[in-house]
Amino acid sequence: MRFLKTLILASAFAASAGTSTLAAGIDDPTRAPYYDAFKGKTVAYVPVAMGFDLTEGWADGLRSTLEPLGIKFEIRDPNWSTSVGAQAITSLITEKPDVLVVHNPDVQSYARLLKKAEAAGIYVVQVNMRSSYSTDAFIGADYVTMGGQIAQRLIDQCSPDNGGSGKIAVIQGVLTAAASAYQMKGILDVLESHPEMNLVSNQAADWDATKAKNIAATVLQQHPDICGFAGFWDVMDIGTSAAIKESGKDVYLISQGGGEQTACDGLTKGTYSELVVYNVPGQARDMANVIKQLLQNGNAPGSTKTTLFTPLDFLTKENMKPGDCWSLPSNG
């Protein structure tokens, strides 16, 4: 009987000892593998160029998320040269970082290289402008849908049923860039079912404001009753806007971009009538998350394909709220 008592007491002590460890907290079993997955890893980033809102914003977002985890973040800046970019990727394939983040200048140039990189055991994440070859992940706007929505906005503004002339024009970036090619398909698909709309001009301005201005000025003077322009990048469309302003006409200009503050200021000042925004810090976060997922799961590169389309905001002067845009951390 006495023995039994001792046993009960002993087990009671043991139980209380158990609760005392509980009070001190227990370790989250997923923590260690989470941090271990990132130790000593390298992420290399090849944008079309640094020095503008989109690429700087992505770099900033990736760096601030990845570096605290112990991931090395490297930037290779080809400065608008496709061949330098291809060289950078080629040399990265031999250097073997763990993840390669690529912003494609056009749909063809890097396709083979990206395939090679995956074969060499590097995860490849593409951002905003995709290559014809699909890799582990793509994060960016759904340009075909976006083109369709833009066409729809122009139809709302400009169709003869709504009191417009039905005449619209498009100013693309570089013809072969994914942002131009896919978007054009979206626009044309929607316009096909709207014979009352008339696409009077469809030209490429190479992402350059001066070229955009010259094209827009000619279009404006050739079609004095033009009702709307769609431009493919806010930085370039400043030129289109200048041409519209100089013509003294009231023309609807729908532009697009990463939603940097300068663009929103342009909306307030009346540079653009409407902006389609894919939020760059949001895209950076999506990329960082996909990278974390790839590194943790450890599947073979190229074995899974994920597409994350960025939600789009259609901003006008009226519906714009503070906080819809973001600012580059260090301007200059």
Binding site: W80, Q203, W207, D208, A242
Partner: protein
């Protein structure tokens, strides 16, 4: 009948033919508005053409012209954005362009590096220097309160866009300089035959330095108009093929790369041909890549016609082209 047309006349003829063709075929080509728009759209190209023309007449070439224009103006805008009064910022940018011109001239006149290499390297250097040390962004915006600067790019005077007046003013200034000033005549003499010019007592080396400083200055002016016209300066143009368009305007107009020949009129004719071509093709909504093909073919044919009508003679063969 001995028909000897100069290249300038051939190109002018081509321009007139294109003009007539477009006027018949395209509605709205030959209207005052469109012609003004046409000239406005090439006025910056024309101004740069004048700068390049002066250098080429002096038997040189300035491949750093577009880089200097982009970087000096972008630096001014960066300074203005960080709070410096715009006028000071522009003065510093202007000074920067002058210094680059001075170094170019020094390298070519005194160190005797061939201009094509000196300015090619300088263009890359200036772009890299600007992007690394002066500012980080590749497009810089004109501040909102810079109304008088914006006027240079977007203003209208007596119904004519201000850039056209500026183009005319630069042409007129360069014409007077070449024709009626001592240094202008020296420039041509040095371009025609540097050794002979030196023997006659012309300060040949300082004249070479002057010609590069002139081209940088004019480049800066063109940059101001570009920035004012689209409220931003895109420094990417430093790496684009724009510099070849500028050389094209000069060579197409008939300023020989062997130096000493040609004048401002040639630049104007070359500029107009390019302007008419671009404008007509935009009106026709021809695809961009096809436009490049057409542009290339017309330029080649102008050169071929010139070679047939004005075959290379002993003198040009001796002097050599670039």
């Amino acid at each position: 009948m001995n028909l000897r047309l100069s290249q300038e006349q051939i190109v002018f003829g081509l321009a007139v033919m294109l003009c007539i063709g477009f006027a018949i075929a395209l509605d709205g080509f030959l209207t005052t508005h469109n012609i003004l728009n046409l000239v406005r759209s090439v006025s910056i190209l024309g101004i740069l053409g004048v700068a390049m023309g002066l250098v080429v007449i002096g038997r040189g070439i300035d491949l750093s012209l577009v880089a200097v224009m982009a970087i000096s103006v972008a630096w001014s805008l960066q300074l203005a954005a960080s709070g410096m009064p715009l006028l000071y910022a522009l003065a510093l940018g202007f000074l920067f362009s002058l210094v680059v011109g001075l170094i170019n001239g020094f390298l070519i006149a005194y160190v005797e590096i061939p201009p094509i290499f000196a300015t090619l390297a300088m263009g890359t250097l200036v772009y890299g220097f600007g992007r690394y040390f002066l500012f980080n962004l590749d497009v810089l915006y004109v501040p909102d309160d810079a109304e008088y600067m914006i006027w240079f790019g977007q203003g209208v005077l007596f119904g004519i866009p201000v850039p056209i007046f500026l183009f005319a003013a630069v042409c007129f200034g360069a014409y007077i300089f070449l024709r009626y000033t001592r240094y202008g005549r020296y420039l041509r003499a040095v371009g025609d035959n540097q050794l002979a010019a030196r023997i006659t007592g012309i300060p040949a080396r300082p004249i070479v330095v002057m010609q590069y400083m002139l081209s940088s200055q004019i480049g800066f002016i063109a940059g101001i108009i570009t920035a004012a016209s689209v409220l931003s300066m895109n420094t990417r143009i430093a790496n684009s093929t724009f510099i070849y368009d500028v050389i094209l305007v000069v060579v197409l107009g008939g300023i020989g790369l062997s130096g000493g020949r040609g004048g401002i009129r040639n630049v104007i004719v070359g500029t107009l041909l390019i302007g008419i071509l671009l404008n007509g093709m935009t009106i026709m909504d021809i695809q961009y890549t096809v436009q490049n093909v057409i542009k290339g073919v017309i330029l080649l044919s102008a050169i071929v016609i010139d070679t047939i009508l004005n075959p290379r003679d002993e003198q040009t063969a001796q002097q050599g082209d670039i």
